[in-house]
């Protein structure tokens, strides 16, 4: 069995009435599929429409146009409950007059289950989430992390839950427990083969949680792929810059004879790059990841000279900011390399690592 969510194909897909008074749409033209039992992330900067899209999928919002399909069946008109979707919100949402056990049994009671069946099912979920010790504690006495587990548990307690949607669920949880809870989420996802869609603006969370990541920007889908694909093959400069730490170096350049001119320094252009740049009118945006930028401490032929502006020591590696003319690039080097700010360095962009973009679209590879 596999199911998918497909969302509209027309321009102007979702438009909340109150929030967008003009003709703008929060989420536009998109078509996206999530497969059954997969761990997915929806990644994008704040305000890009992730939460709106999520609420459309869960049924809390009705799209202006377009459809949400579930196993090929149109569920656009159904309520969240009828879609069998669970949602975990940014901050813990629990029923504070109930204890953990009562919270977990609430959806089942609403579904009219028999008491004995509820008891057995809730105990299963409590065991799954390892909450035995706090099962009869009141909400006021739980940590935010435990409350978030309760809201996750309420989502899982229905055996026919089709998908769990998580809207930045770790925002209010302290870093140490974040790690723990994310691991638990991943474990539950694998164990129950659940479809999870995890919304976040934190690329680290997305990359560590999901098998499949959809990056959104300004209400549109920028790229969908595995973490490796997004990192090594960004479809546009936005992905290049958004994924990776630090983000990809993006430099405007123009082809002058056999050289690429960056307006401060030049590098010799390899044949295949030359063909591609020439093919799009002789100017383009060149992208290279900081970890791919090669750095030499002595002059080398055809390696342009840079001045080292700043060194950021990140523990496992160092991030160098280099300047030539008005152009700045970042480079990532091993932590043990000795460098001093203000020194001269020489760099090379290995041609196999270079990505070429024209008008925000990748044109090589």
């Amino acid at each position: 069995m596999w199911h998918s969510y497909e969302a509209g194909k027309k321009k102007g897909w979702f438009k909340p009435k109150e929030e967008c008074p003009d003709d703008s749409y929060c989420v536009t033209d998109l078509n996206i599929k999530w497969e059954n039992g997969s761990a997915n992330a929806l990644l994008g900067p704040s305000g890009c429409g992730k939460t709106t899209l999520l609420n459309v999928i869960s049924g809390l919002l009705k799209p202006t146009r377009g459809k949400v399909l579930f196993d090929g069946k149109d569920v656009t008109a159904l309520s969240p409950e009828e879609r069998h979707i669970a949602q975990v919100f940014q901050f813990p949402v629990t029923y504070e007059s109930m204890d953990v056990f009562q919270n977990l049994s609430f959806p089942l009671k609403n579904d009219g289950w028999a008491a004995a069946k509820i008891d057995a099912r809730v105990k299963e979920i409590i065991a799954l989430l390892d909450m035995g010790e706090i099962a009869h504690r009141s909400m006021a006495k739980l940590t935010p992390a435990d409350k978030q587990k309760v809201s996750l548990g309420r989502g899982l307690v229905r055996p026919n839950t089709a998908a769990v949607l998580l809207d930045e669920p770790l925002t209010v949880i302290d870093p140490k427990q974040q790690w723990d809870l994310r691991r638990r989420l991943r474990q539950v996802q694998r164990q129950l083969k659940l479809t999870m869609i995890y919304v976040t603006h934190d690329q680290h969370e997305a990359l560590t949680f999901a098998d499949n990541i959809t990056v959104m920007s300004l209400g549109q889908i920028s790229q969908t792929g595995t973490p490796e694909e997004l990192h090594s093959n960004p479809a546009n400069p936005f992905i290049g810059f958004f994924i990776g730490s630090p983000g990809m170096n993006l430099l405007d350049c123009a082809l002058r004879g056999d050289e690429l001119d960056f307006g401060g320094f030049t590098i010799p252009a390899a044949q295949n790059i030359k063909v591609k740049v020439a093919g799009c009118g002789g100017s383009c945006k060149l992208g290279i990841r900081p970890e791919s930028v090669e750095v030499a401490f002595t002059p080398k032929k055809d390696w342009p000279e840079f001045t080292l502006l700043t060194v950021e020591n990140m523990g496992a590696y160092k991030v160098l900011t280099l300047e030539s003319g008005s152009r700045r690039i970042k480079s990532r080097i091993p932590e043990n390399a000795a460098v001093t700010e203000g020194a001269k360095l020489w760099v090379r962009f290995p041609e196999e690592q270079v990505k070429i973009f024209k008008d925000d679209v990748r044109i090589d590879g």
């Binding site: 609420n55 919100f89 504070e96 007059s97």
Partner: protein, 286 residues
């Protein structure tokens, strides 16, 4: 002096002492004397208190007061919540309903009393006229049933908006996600209200109930202006009872009544606060 903060509190403490503590102690002092205006005070110990607890007029005033205050809570709290729940949640409707609800709260107590006196006045008021159409002969000045009911309806009119405003503020402060979660969990409208809205309004309602209890327990202006405590003693609430005693120059006895009155308000309010702040909190810790 180690803790200089106390220095800065002194002006406030002096003000409180002059305004509240010293006058109250004077009253405590009076209550131990047989004290008529113009006569020499005579120390009688607890005699005033002893008389008070045996005074049938005090018993009936206290009983009437309790019934009134409880009725106020029983009607005004649910009604206020219901009004808040029915109010528009956004747009111009919010402003309009807030202004309309706020209006009665702006009117001073005695003015409210006079308005209602005009409403209910025999021959000219709208209330007796309308009720007469339905065959009911209403007379606030003569009927021991109509009089307290009128005071009660007047109080509901005057103060339910306060509960509605508090409840509305409390409801507005509940994040949408809680309602969305309840929707996903398949909760009915009633269950959503019972398990999401009501628990989240606990603090606001505690304040509302305390305010309404203490205020209604001290009601004075409305019965004074509408009925003057009558007919008979049917609207003689505790406050009016105390005032009558003071008016009759039996100051020692009035002092004793005041002290007992104060203690009742304090104790009952404290009990309310304790109970309300526990509701829904530690339910699962048994």
């Amino acid at each position: 002096m180690k803790n200089k903060a106390w220095l800065f509190l002194i002006p406030t403490l002096v003000l409180v002492a002059i305004n509240a503590f010293i006058p109250m102690m004077t009253v405590v002092n009076y209550s131990f004397f047989n004290l008529y205006s113009g006569s020499t005070p005579e120390f009688v110990g607890l005699q005033n208190y002893y008389d008070l607890f045996r005074d049938p007029f005090f018993h009936s005033a206290l009983w009437r007061q309790l019934v009134f205050s409880i009725a106020v809570l029983v009607v005004q709290i649910p009604l206020g919540i219901a009004i808040a729940a029915c109010m528009p949640k956004k747009g111009i409707g919010v402003t309009i309903s807030l202004v309309l609800l706020g209006f009665p709260l702006l009117i001073p107590h005695n003015v409210v009393g006079i308005i209602w006196r005009l409403f209910t006045q025999d021959n000219i008021g709208i209330v007796p006229t309308v009720l007469a159409w339905f065959g009911y002969t209403y007379n606030v000045a003569m009927s021991p049933v109509d009089a307290p009911l009128t005071i009660f309806v007047c109080d509901v009119w005057h103060w339910t908006p306060l509960i509605a405003l508090l409840s509305f503020a409390g409801m507005q402060a509940i994040p949408d996600a809680f309602y969305q979660a309840a929707k996903i969990d398949g909760a009915s409208t009633w269950k959503t209200f019972r398990y999401v809205t009501l628990p989240k309004m606990r603090n606001v309602l505690t304040i509302g109930i305390l305010l309404r209890f203490m205020d209604s327990f001290k009601i004075y202006d409305e019965p004074m202006t509408i009925t003057g405590g009558g007919p008979g003693s049917s609207t003689t609430f505790l406050n009016i009872f105390v005032a009558r005693k003071a008016e009759s120059y039996d100051l020692g006895y009035a002092g004793a009544v005041s002290i007992v009155y104060l203690l009742i308000v304090m104790v009952v309010s404290y009990l309310f606060f304790q109970v309300l702040s526990r509701v829904g909190k530690g339910g699962a810790d048994k």
